[in-house]
Symmetry: D2
């Protein structure tokens, strides 16, 4: 069934969602604060609008609008759009919202009879071709109404082998989208997804770092009271080709994964990683996953450590490090060693 | 080019390597302490032998023998076999040896002119069909001589898309095997592979545990001076279907991976994980990876935490936990709360 | 200057605070839901009251009342007491409240002109003799008014040597109490104090566990494909006396501390820690410290790991552990090893 | 009983040991590669020697010599000294040796009938006045012979209250020295002591970092797709005085400890820690403690994390961080954010 969807926010993600929907035969009404972005998609078949009012007017009731703006702007966009919406219309937040905000927003919209659906969307820059993995929260009936849209956006069954033990009709999950539960459930699942992503990325990063230093025994280390000499330099004499290692693990190994594919591509492009300074951003999901683990009382050493390593990469451990140096000076008279 | 290889150790891994080689047209001579295992493979086309002497005699010089026995037995097997081997013969250790043992073994064999090759082998029970990912250490010329065998055992290029940026001839790594460097390099790379595997597994396990507890707000927790009440039960009201979530992430998400495929299969088979008690073994590689990280001075929070979680799963944290309870009793008069 | 203070909540902490105040010459009005507790302190010189109304009536305006009840009951107690209080009266929360609740409570009381002071109180069962360390938040003028009470409750300068570099008049902090800032600041500082306490306790617990297992090389471990044999049993042959070690570290070592004193006492009492099962409670402060670290973007590996170890001690890692076993079975066909 | 001891290595630690022994009435023969250091102690009453031969000749058989040189030089010093020693003489290593080296050295000396004693020595720059905490490994009879020396070096009972439950005669441990077991046991216990020290230091450093950032809500953070806005800036408005907080915790709190005393002194001296860059050294003990934890199969999240934080403080996480940035660029097109 072909449907109509409005899209607010035509950044890379929003634009690619629209393109996938248009290719799938759906009708898209688009709006963005940047008129150029609107025009670009209009040229690809979307309906151009120049204000939220015009956007709402171009949609047929019951309306369905998808908001894809930075997390910090979602709240105000939802509120502004609601002014133009009517009972039984649906507002979908496909961005990286905190699931708790979903619960609050849904509760405020319900007073006007407007439905709210939260959709965690994974896929990155490859989503246009691969499809986007969708994790959905909201009222079941409302989500069901939107299913043709989700089915088009999602990757579909594709060439991925069916999980052993699954029989019968293909389920939602096997097509790449999933109704997870009431409001917030979609973003909750997406949040944990990203928490896992941080942990997997860190596992690779640490492992490759151990490979990268496998030749540490070939360099002469300085000996002094502050630093123990490497006990067994003869065991650290390997100059390993990390690019080739990433590549070989793509085939038949236990760690084969999309993140490994990307690692292999990154190392192929720049084996010395010379273009990076190592300051790693973290968006909210990693933090929220840790907050949830702590509140649930679930040990999550790995997910948390991967988050903290990102903090440290941006120098956020500096105060603690300085205090350690200060303590060492106090008890041992140890002066800090210079960086050189 | 078709070759001859001897295989010692016909457990699941060894037997499947032989099967893959026979299917690839190579000739295999086999030996195991268990005569039944030998007979079984003889029935599939391998040459049966009943002693190491017979095994060595059945191989044409320069001989090539692959040892695939438990790590604790490899050393004595190599020594015993060397008694029957001659200069320029090759002994391959394809098991889970510590790379430092490779260095020592190679050094002791070189005195007799026997070559030693260490091969880290990944693939598990699926290797027979998927092929095994091979990480190889040894003398370059000797490894090159064995390349037709490695090429047959490895998965080959298969249907995996070529890494962007790679052009020209297909490399070893793209076929699923890699010469990594001098003796020990193969097992060093395999060791780190398994270290990463531990980290990835823990990332999934922790993330799914956070999902599993997302309904914690629906149960009434007890209030007392020792345990803080859950501040916001309204945010933990989700009964999530972890089986479906594992499935949906297989398509289009950032965490898609072979380990996720297995997780989906495991949850499909037994959503409540009722058949497991949660005692997780660790073979040596995870430990050795941490030892290497420490000696190299590389921070590896995630890999280490995933190892320690396995220790804890087996009750190895008990002494520390008891001591914490004892301290709490001392300073606060806190009695331990019973498990119920 | 001698003052009057009301105390609500006569558990161990509340009762000891009253005792210390009475010994210091202050007048105490007491109330508790348990009349026996009230009578007991009345026998020691406190003024008995049998309802909040009577309690409020017995206090001279501007009243000062200290609430020392379990964290889950503080909110309702503050509200109930406020019904009987008048403008310029002061309510002090000396319990283990979340500092955010302080901010909310102070804001709601300010509408009635009632002041709110939050006091983080450390000292445990030893506070009666040692004095309690007080971390205080609220309006500066109100806190100043209560200073004679804080000075009596706190340990005072005692025999602790003055910190090098400090000169001139003795400060609040040197007497064992500190005005930390506006409402919530007292409990914020106390929260981090407990976070550090968790980390220190875990450092001791882990270290003693390493000592306790120093004889692991004397026991024969089983060899199998799942568990690597201990490489160097000759290095783990020590039967260490952890009780004596705790004792010797109390003198002249870098780790000497009150927690070590308690550890020494605990091991002296029960060297095998036989009376403990190892289920370690966590009250809110450790969790809140981690939440603050995450929101502040400060890496706090140690504080967080010590919290998670407590979760694990109570079996909260079980789901994750089971999933690891399930994955291992999928990829390696590894059956779980029984506990025996 | 007054004894004679030879000391090799007159750095700060060695010199202070000699001074304490001389004050205690013992006779000291001293040697150092730096003749100025020898002269300085000769002026304080020690016997000057100018070569190992002269040193050995000045000692009465059975000789007792204490070596206090950097860990990297201990092995060769022991060997050189043994050339001048005779059966039943004793060589004591009081430095920061790896306990495994003790075992190897003792085994090689035993062939000549020379005894070896390993002594872990804690006390830092304060040891001269406070006394040094001694952890001792070796043959029981040999250690017993040296007990008068250990008793003089150790702090003695001092003003530290006796551990509750201890009765009867004062033990070694209560005087500040302890015979721990056969060779290596002394350094093993000292190793774990330092591992705990790392963990405690990190607990303080992380906690103070959380305090230091408690005003993060007062600064406006940038909003973008990469960084989540701080959800609740109103809860992070505290400008805390970390110097005063360290001071107040010294009295009556659970975290009171010598390390806290030093932290208070360090912050008093330089509240902004302006003289430190935050590059924290690690000597061998922290690493060896982690290696032991891993080999023993004991979870040691806290001790390990504190070690890794030191690695990170020196930039050792850079490769991993760069790889994370590279992966993020691949899957999300995320450019790294500049440091500014």
């Amino acid at each position: 069934m072909k449907m109509q969807l409005g899209m607010i926010g035509l950044g890379r993600m929003g634009a690619n969602l629209v393109r996938r929907l248009i290719r799938g035969g759906h009708e898209c009404v688009v709006y963005d604060v940047n008129p150029e972005a609107v025009k670009a998609l209009a040229a690809e078949g979307a309906t151009e609008t120049r204000s939220l009012a015009e956007f709402a007017a171009a949609l047929r009731p019951p309306r369905a609008a998808w908001i894809m703006v930075p997390a910090g702007l979602t709240g105000e966009t939802v509120s502004a759009l609601a002014e133009h919406f009517a009972p039984d219309d649906v507002i979908i937040d496909g961005g990286n919202s905190y699931y708790r905000d979903d619960i609050l927003r849904a509760a405020s919209l319900v007073e006007r009879g407007i439905h709210y659906v939260d959709v965690g969307t994974s896929g990155g820059v490859f989503g246009l071709e691969r499809g986007f993995c969708l994790m959905i929260g909201g009222e079941p009936g409302v989500v069901a109404r939107l299913e043709p849209l989700f089915e088009t956006i999602a990757p579909g069954v594709g060439t991925i082998p069916r999980t052993p033990g699954r029989t019968g009709e293909i389920t939602q999950a096997e097509k790449g989208y999933l109704y997870c539960g009431p409001n917030g459930a979609g973003h909750f699942v997406k949040m944990v997804h990203n928490g896992i992503e941080y942990g997997m990325m860190a596992a690779f990063a640490e492992g490759f770092a151990v490979l990268d230093k496998a030749n540490i025994g070939t360099t002469s280390a300085e000996h002094n009271a502050e630093t123990a000499p490497l006990g067994n330099p003869e065991y650290y004499q390997y100059d390993l080709d990390t690019t080739a290692i990433a590549e070989v693990w793509r085939r038949g190994s236990v760690v084969s994964s999309w993140l490994l594919d990307l690692t292999a591509a990154a190392l192929q492009e720049d084996p010395g990683l010379t273009e990076f300074s190592g300051r790693v951003s973290d968006s909210g999901e990693g933090r929220w996953t840790v907050l949830a683990a702590v509140e649930e009382g679930v040990p999550a050493h790995v997910l948390t450590a991967s988050l903290y390593e990102r903090f440290s990469s941006r120098g956020e451990g500096l105060f603690a490090d300085k205090l350690l140096s200060a303590m060492r000076k106090q008890f041992g008279g140890h002066a800090e060693k210079p960086a050189g």
